[in-house]
């Protein structure tokens, strides 16, 4: 299974290089017809290198992969939580988003002790905000 995943990721890298070369680079860089290193030169070299190395990786299986599906799913959950918290911060401010994020993260990993939850979800965001805004004079959302 891991070997298949290892081959697959090599193929994805190679395919990414192809997409980059034929679709992304032409549409997202300017065409300039003078100079040795043009805007497309280095990205095009990178794209060709990705195709080459991705193909080698897919064919000859170098290195290992470690991506347990349950752990990856949990990691995805934390990414979604963080994304949601960033959205909340943008709308409601840093403190509200940080309180919510810290609380949800602590509850999700199984923390149930009120003292630690209060420290992590209430005190810590308040301390970070106090250091950043009044003390250092910087802004937070």
């Amino acid at each position: 299974m891991l070997n298949i995943l290892n081959r697959l990721q090599g193929a994805v890298v190679a395919l990414g290089g192809v997409v980059l070369y034929f679709f992304v680079i032409p549409h997202h860089t300017e065409v300039v017809d003078y100079g040795w290193v043009r805007p497309q030169t280095l990205p095009a070299i990178c794209a060709v290198a990705l195709v080459l190395f991705g193909t080698i990786d897919a064919l000859f299986l170098t290195g290992g992969v470690s991506l347990p599906s349950s752990e990856a799913a949990r990691a995805a959950l934390f990414v979604v939580l963080t994304g949601g918290a960033l959205f909340a911060m943008d709308r409601l401010g840093y403190l509200a988003g940080a309180f919510a994020l810290a609380l949800l993260v602590m509850l999700t990993v199984g923390e149930r002790r009120p003292g630690w939850i209060a420290l992590g979800a209430l005190a810590a965001p308040a301390v970070v905000w106090s250091i950043a805004v009044p003390l250092l004079g910087r802004t937070l959302p």
Partner: protein, 507 residues
């Protein structure tokens, strides 16, 4: 550089304010080093945005303190609970934890502290004496040589950091690709900005660094968490006095081991891409080889702790040699320091000695102060750090996450930078899981802009004729060295693979 600049620079460093920043940095470094999972690299990444409001010297002094404190701090959980706080402390656990289990945790941690400070001081002395002459040499190099040097740095790093050369190369190429986002250096036209004008300046360095290093690791640790609290061992109150300290005789007995470790760490640290973990294990193996009683290693031999800690700490100062002399970071920590330098309007590299000589010697002064502070803070706060080891991970990682968000927001001035950080947190997680060295990606990203610019200048100088390289012998030698290095790495990998398959057959 005149003597007055050196004295003025050292004088700038030795002020109560800088001392305060160094002490705070060392304490913060030891604290985060003592927390398994949060190493000094993550701590520096998080701390950088908070230092923007300070003057350059106190800010850099604080970050240097974090780096030095973190290297020793990583040894504390390695010794006390056999859970290295940093990867380079893994070798310290080999003898440190057995010694702690014998009822001598204070002796083990103090030996780690003394060896760490000894190795670090040695490498700082080498840095101070070697970097200025190297910078003078580097100033004689033009764009052609700089371009070749970056090619050499890529060749060395890609092979050494990852398990696989191909994956190392893919990571380096991906880093280069990410560095092409924004205005191109030759024509000034925008690339890959996808309608987001914030990307005209390229991907924010702080967002990419914190996302790839810190946020991805936080996601990994949170996802792999099975229990909310770690078990720590208690330091017994009724230890015999000789078990609570390291005597001068014991320290002196380890002098050759520490000298060897410091030398190994300094040599390996000066080569870009070789981390302190390799230095620690190499020094451990050398100490075991040289010992009259090799069987005692792994069972609580104090020489084992001295070997590993002197080597991994010596890497830190030596890592700054390529950074200050030629502007190429020797490690991720050094690369992060580059972003701190740039934020304060300082361009790292050989010109620093000419244009910012006073600041450089201020930095050296801060490093010497940090060594003394590391010793003092480590001596007095050991019991406190041992309690920190038992702080629940649920608290540590949730707080780290909100610190990353606040830090990146302050550094980039908006939620766009924070969103980029989240994206690179996912990228870092996926890369690490699939065996791509995130460190290589990051260093390639740091060097990418400089590489494209020097490549462009090189081709203009050579008028596109590669054969004209013959007029640039240093550049040519560096390119040959790059090819030889890459070839040697492939052969070494093949040999290792062959020997590991033989081992599997035997067992």
């Amino acid at each position: 550089m005149d003597f007055a600049t050196i004295i003025a620079g050292l004088g700038d460093a030795l002020t109560p304010l800088n001392l305060l920043f160094v002490v705070a940095g060392v304490a913060a470094g030891q604290l985060v080093g003592a927390l398994p999972g949060i190493g000094p690299v993550m701590a520096i990444a998080i701390a950088i945005p908070f230092t923007f409001v300070f003057d350059p010297l106190p800010a850099i002094a604080f970050l240097i303190g974090v780096m030095k404190g973190g290297l020793y701090g990583g040894a504390i959980p390695a010794i006390l609970v056999n859970t290295p706080g940093t990867p380079d402390a893994a070798a310290t656990a080999l003898d440190g934890h057995p010694l702690a289990a014998k009822g001598k945790p204070l002796k083990a941690t103090k030996m780690a502290l003394f060896a760490s400070v000894t190795g670090d001081t040695f490498s700082d002395i080498v840095l101070i004496t070697v970097s200025a002459p190297l910078a003078v040499l580097a100033l004689k190099m033009g764009p052609v040589e700089t371009c070749s040097l970056i090619v050499l740095a890529f060749a060395v790093m890609s092979g050494l950091v990852g398990q696989s050369l191909t994956k190392g190369l893919i990571a380096a190429v991906f880093g280069l690709l990410c560095a092409t986002v924004g205005l191109d250096p030759e024509h000034g036209t925008p690339r890959f900005y996808f309608g987001h004008f914030e990307l005209f300046d390229g991907l924010p360095l702080v967002s990419v660094a914190i996302g790839t290093l810190a946020v991805s690791e936080i996601f990994r640790r949170l996802a792999g968490m099975t229990m909310a609290i770690r078990a720590a061992i208690e330091i017994p109150d009724t230890q015999a006095p000789e078990d609570r300290r390291v005597s001068w005789a014991e320290y002196w007995e380890c002098r050759f081991t520490m000298a060897r470790g410091a030398l190994i760490g300094t040599v390996l640290g000066a080569i870009p891409g070789i981390g302190s973990t390799a230095a620690a294990f190499m020094s451990y193996a050398a100490a075991r080889e040289a010992s009259k009683d090799p069987d005692s290693f792994g069972k609580g031999n104090i020489q084992g702790i001295a070997a590993t800690e002197s080597a991994n700490s010596a890497v830190m100062g030596a890592n700054l040699i390529p950074l200050l002399a030629i502007g190429i970071p020797g490690s991720v920590s050094a690369a992060l320091l580059i972003s701190a330098f740039k934020t304060h309007g300082i361009q790292p590299g050989p010109l620093m000695f000419e244009q910012q000589g006073r600041l450089i010697y201020g930095l050296f002064g801060a490093m010497i102060m940090a060594n003394a502070c590391n010793l003092a803070v480590g001596q007095f706060s050991l019991r406190f750090w041992s309690r920190i080891v038992s702080a629940p991970e649920s608290l540590i990682f949730s707080v780290s996450l909100i610190l990353c968000i606040a830090g990146v927001y302050m550094a980039t001035g908006g939620m766009f930078g924070v969103a980029i950080m989240l994206i690179f947190g996912v990228v870092g997680y996926v890369m690490t899981s699939l065996g791509y060295p995130a460190v290589v990606f990051l260093i390639a990203f740091f060097l990418g802009g400089q590489f494209e610019q020097s490549l462009s200048q090189t081709l203009v100088i050579l008028n596109g004729d590669v054969m004209a390289l013959i007029h640039f012998p240093i550049a040519l030698a560096l390119l040959v060295l790059s090819a030889v290095t890459a070839g040697w790495l492939v052969r070494r990998r093949d040999r290792r693979r062959a020997s590991s398959s033989t081992d599997e057959t035997v067992f």
